[in-house]
Each structure stands twice: as structure tokens, then as C-alpha cells.
Amino acid sequence: MATKSGADDFTFERSGSKYNWEDHYKPVLKYVFLIVFLSWILLPVYYTGVNSMKGPGQIFKTAMGIPYLTFDPLPFGALIPILLGEVPLVPAGSSGSFTGLSAWRTMWEAFPFVEYMVATTVVSVGTAGLATVAAVFSAYAFARLDFPAKTPLFILSVMGFTFPIVLLAIPIFVLMQQLSLLNTYLGMILAFTAFTLPYNIWLLRGFFEDLPDNLEESARVDGCTQIGAFFRVILPLSRPAIASVFLLAFLLAWHNYLMAFILGSDPLHTTLAPAILQLRGTFFVKNLHYIMAGTFLSMFVPILMYMYLQTHLVEGLSSGGGVKG
């Protein structure tokens, strides 16, 4: 609380009591709300992370507890290989104890997590690239050019995004079967583009519309052609927006379950999301820590990307506004 000084001269005495209540409790209340909110939001992340390092017995005993050692104290040096998961499981007779990162290691090696990761990354990068390149041109056209049948074409282009993916799934599955593109990266990239491209068009159109109107005109006056103005002025200005749209498309592809499931019946050509669901069938409840490890690993990367993206998105959007102001 500020001391009684010059700044407080503006306070209205008559209504003082009413606001003091609020000023008094608000700092406490907002932290209470923050803790309640975050404990709900971080609960699954914490739960999967913590339980992936416990043996089944310990999960059954305290699912929320921090992993702890139940066997005789070891010299510190002996802990390191357990932590790193090099020693596969803890000593005999203590199946219920701390397992370090061995479940992660099992995921990585036995359940072919590496292959899934590679497949997911290839497909996501391919999808994001294709969708972003196509979207940059068409979003520019929708935002800043005039041509016949603009609104119907826009509705048609964005429809693919608003359409539930499950409705596209059957037609695309049959199409890919006819083209014999099932179980290929190309087929998956094309199928994922069906819903990421409209999304990118929608986002980028909004961004291009916010750029000042006279950008192309001044470029034209300086001797650029219309297309030259697009490549030399508009594209460099919108680099941050394009980057964030690329990342969003990447994550959309990363998260998608349905398309990846129907197009990749071969386990090595499917992405992470269907693989995670397979975990439930592959490992019984007895091996819950494997399921937890796989789930945690699949959540970890996108969460980090989003936390990075959050600042990046703000940058991208504010630089568009910065030009305007």
C-alpha cells in the first residue's frame, strides 16, 4: 500500500470504505484464483509426468506423490544410471518403486517412439509448408485484390476448415486408396492440407487486411510491378505472421488423430496421436507408467512450442499493427 502522500490526494474520501475492501482482498484473491486455475490446467501434465517415473506399485499407492525410492539408500553415484534409465528396473522384489526415466527409455526404444516422432515431424513440416505457401498467395488475393466471384470463392476455400474432419475422412480415405497413397507421407501431407490450408487462409487474410492500404501504391510509384510489390514489400513485412501461421499449421497436423489413423494403418507410417491411443491397447493397466511416459512425451513438445509461440504470435500481430500506426 502506498503511504499517504501527494498521489493520494485524488482519492475520494466519501467512497473510501467501499474500495478499501476490494483493494485489500484483490491481491490475495487473484493469487487464489491463479492457483486454483493452474492446478486444474497442470493436473494432467503433472500426473503423467510424475507417474511416468514410478513403478506400478507406487502409482497405486500415491498417484499424486513425487516419485521416491523405496529400497535401501544407494550411494549417489549409483542413482545416476537409474535416473537416466540405463538400469531398466529397480532391484528385484520392489516392483513398486521409483523407475527413473526407464519408462521413457522403453517408450523411446521398444515402442517405436522415435519412428513416430520422425513420421509426425515429416508430415507436420510438409503440411505446414504446403499449406502456408498456398495460403500466402490466396490470402493476399482475398485481402487485397479484386477479382470476380470473390466472396463465393472465399466461402468455398474456408469451408474445408469449418467442415468437421470426420466428414472429409471417408472421401479422402477412398481417394487415397484409389491413388494408392495409403501409408505414405505424401498422402498424409495432402490429406492434412485439406483442413490446415483453409485455416491458414483465414488467419493470414485477417493479417493482410490490417496492413495499410497504400503500401502497394507507394511501391508501384517507386517502380515495382504489382507482383513485385507483393514479393518485395508485403512478404518481408509479414514474415512474423507467416512464421506463426506456419507453426499453427504444424501443431494442427501434429495434433490430428483421425486422418492419421485412417491413412496410416501401418504403424510406422502413422503419427503420434494414433500411436498414443494404441498405448492403451498395448500396455495393460499394470504397466500404467509406460502409458504415462508416452502421453507425457506427446504433450511435452507442443506445450513448449505453444509457450514459445505465445510471445511469437503477439510479436507477429503487433508488428502488423505497428506498420499501421
Binding site: 488475393a141 470476380p148 467442415f163 475422412a169
Partner: protein, 323 residues
């Protein structure tokens, strides 16, 4: 049409020819920019939707891609309306509508609360370091994780077992049967799915609302505070009116985007107990890729598509009306 410059005078020579070409070319230019998108979307959305969606729904799909699929007319539609699929069809429509009616308002309330909370300052006491950006990022943890992983984790946490911590917590307050826990008992399974879905999805609305809340000038709050408005009045008369258009748009988007989603119910309850959480999207998925009756699934999908087109058009209208 020939080239006329701004003064209204025809330009002569080479410049005039270039201008006239550009002008002729001008309206086509937009279409040229659109070309890659149109080619892609025609290939992977429009053509298959007509060829494999509409026409397949009139056929009986055979698993052998070489063999022709026999034409059965409207039999697939009849199956859903009057045949053996009628009960499931009607029930899953009910489930889908109820799911929408629960998920979207909950999303709205949670996201609005989160956005208002994250608009506050969170300075570390004594140090004066602003930690708000970090909490803002953490709020997106749900939205960032894959829906399948979210559903799977919530499903495990809702089982009636020692590790089912959500069950253990809720059973203190509610009488949830111990056999099956939340995920396989009737009224509870639905709530279990809704919790997982809201956890996964509220982040989108939260981002939009956060931007909206930030754009409200803080002077308004200060003035109203001086005039004696309490926090509820300030929310009612300043925050809500400012966010009204945003709320309408976002609720519409969420309604459209929730309608066909199936990953959360699939991973949390697998549609159970019996069909209690089997939303329409999940029915299409099960019939199509579980029973491999792609013709029937396509018929259901076509009806679904037609019924949500008004919703989509409404959304596109709000998107495009101010231009």
C-alpha cells in the same frame, strides 16, 4: 477497355500498351494468386466430397478396391432413418446436441474467467518482476496437448482405482458407483468427457478474449471506480459490452468446430457406457472404420454435412460482413 490514366487522358505508345495489358490482366491476377489453393482444394476436398462422399453414400462399399461397389440407391439413408440404425442415429443426435450445449457455455465461462484473471498483474512481491507472461503461457497447456493424449489422461484419472485421482476427489462429494468409476457410469461419463473437452479446448477462446480484454481502455475502469461501481457492475457495464461481438463470433466458431470432433470422447470413454457419450462424429468413425460400412457412414456424413451448412454460412457471414 483501353488504358486511361488518372487525369482521364489516354496514354500513348509502349506505356499505353503495358497499361492496357495490366488492366486487362488485373482482375485475373487475383485468380492467378488463388490458383494453387484452388487446385489443392479441388483435388483433396471438393472432388472427393462429391465423388467419394455423395456418390459413395448411394453405394454399398466393398472392401476390395478392385471390385465395383454395387449401387443401392437410398438404402444407406433408409438404414439410418427407418432401418436398424434408427435408434442409434436419433440417440447420437441427442448426445451431440447435449454435448454442444454443455461444452460451449462451459468453454465460454472458463475462458472468460481465465482471460480476466490473466489481465491482472502478477508481480513477485518485493522483487517487482512481472510474471504474467509466464502464467499466460501455462494457461495454454491444455490447448497445446493433443486431444487424444488429453482424453486418455483424463480417462485414466477418472477410473475408479487408486490412481484415479479425479474419481477419488469427486467421490467425496458425489455418490459415484465404485464399479466403473466416472468413465463407465451413466450420468457421470458425460461430465467426465465434458471436463476433458473443456480442459482441452478453452484455450482458443481464452486467447481471443485476452486480446479483447486488453483492448478495453483502463481509464474506463478507473473512472467507474471513482464513480462507485463495484467489480460486478464494472464487469456488467464495461467488460461485457466491449466483448459482446467477440463473444458472439467465438461462440459461433466453437459451436461449428465442436460439432464433429470425436477424439476426446473416443479417448476418454470410447463412446460408452453403451452409447451414452457416442457423439455423431464417433458414430461415423465407428461405422466407417470399425465396421467398414463406408457407404452407410458416408450417408450419415452427408446428412450431417447438409445439416451444419447453415451454421457454417452464418459463421462466414459474420466473418465477411464488415468488408
Amino acid at each position: 477497355m483501353s488504358a486511361i490514366d488518372q487525369i482521364g487522358r489516354r496514354r500513348e505508345g509502349i506505356g499505353g500498351i503495358v497499361d492496357s495489358v495490366l488492366e486487362e490482366y488485373g482482375s485475373v491476377q487475383g485468380l492467378l494468386f488463388l490458383l494453387p489453393t484452388l487446385v489443392l482444394l479441388t483435388g483433396i476436398v471438393f472432388y472427393p466430397m462429391i465423388q467419394n462422399g455423395l456418390l459413395l453414400s448411394l453405394r454399398d462399399y466393398t472392401l476390395n478396391p478392385a471390385a465395383p461397389d454395387p449401387f443401392v440407391g437410398l438404402a444407406n439413408y433408409e438404414y439410418w432413418f427407418f432401418g436398424a440404425g434408427q435408434a442409434l442415429f436419433l440417440f447420437s443426435i441427442k448426445v451431440t446436441i447435449l454435448y454442444e450445449l454443455l461444452v460451449v457455455p462451459f468453454d465460454l465461462v472458463v475462458a472468460l474467467g481465465a482471460a480476466l484473471l490473466m489481465n491482472e498483474r502478477f508481480q513477485l512481491p518485493g522483487l517487482g518482476i512481472e510474471t504474467r507472461a509466464f502464467w499466460r503461457g501455462l494457461m495454454l497447456a491444455g490447448y497445446a496437448s493433443p486431444a487424444i493424449a488429453a482424453g486418455l489422461t483424463w480417462g485414466i484419472m477418472q477410473q475408479a482405482a487408486e490412481y484415479g485421482i479425479v474419481y477419488q476427489f469427486l467421490t467425496q462429494f458425489f455418490d459415484i458407483p465404485a464399479s466403473g468409476g466416472i468413465v463407465s457410469n451413466k450420468p457421470w461419463a458425460f461430465w467426465g468427457v465434458v471436463i476433458a473437452k473443456v480442459w482441452r479446448d478453452f484455450g482458443f477462446m481464452y486467447i481471443v478474449f485476452l486480446a479483447g480484454v486488453q483492448s478495453i481502455p483502463s481509464a474506463l475502469y478507473e473512472i467507474s471506480k471513482v464513480d462507485g461501481a463495484n467489480p460486478i457492475q464494472r464487469f456488467r457495464y464495461i467488460t461485457l459490452p466491449h466483448l459482446r461481438t467477440v463473444i458472439v463470433t467465438v461462440v459461433m466458431i466453437r459451436t461449428v468446430f465442436t460439432v464433429g470432433k470425436l477424439a476426446i470422447p473416443l479417448a476418454t470413454t470410447q463412446g460408452g457406457p453403451v452409447n451414452y457419450t457416442r457423439v455423431l462424429g464417433l458414430v461415423i468413425y465407428d461405422v466407417g472404420f470399425g465396421e467398414w460400412a463406408l457407404g452407410r457412414a458416408a450417408a450419415l456424413g452427408m446428412m450431417f454435412a447438409v445439416s451444419i451448412i447453415p451454421l457454417i454460412l452464418l459463421w462466414v457471414k459474420t466473418e465477411t460482413e464488415d468488408y
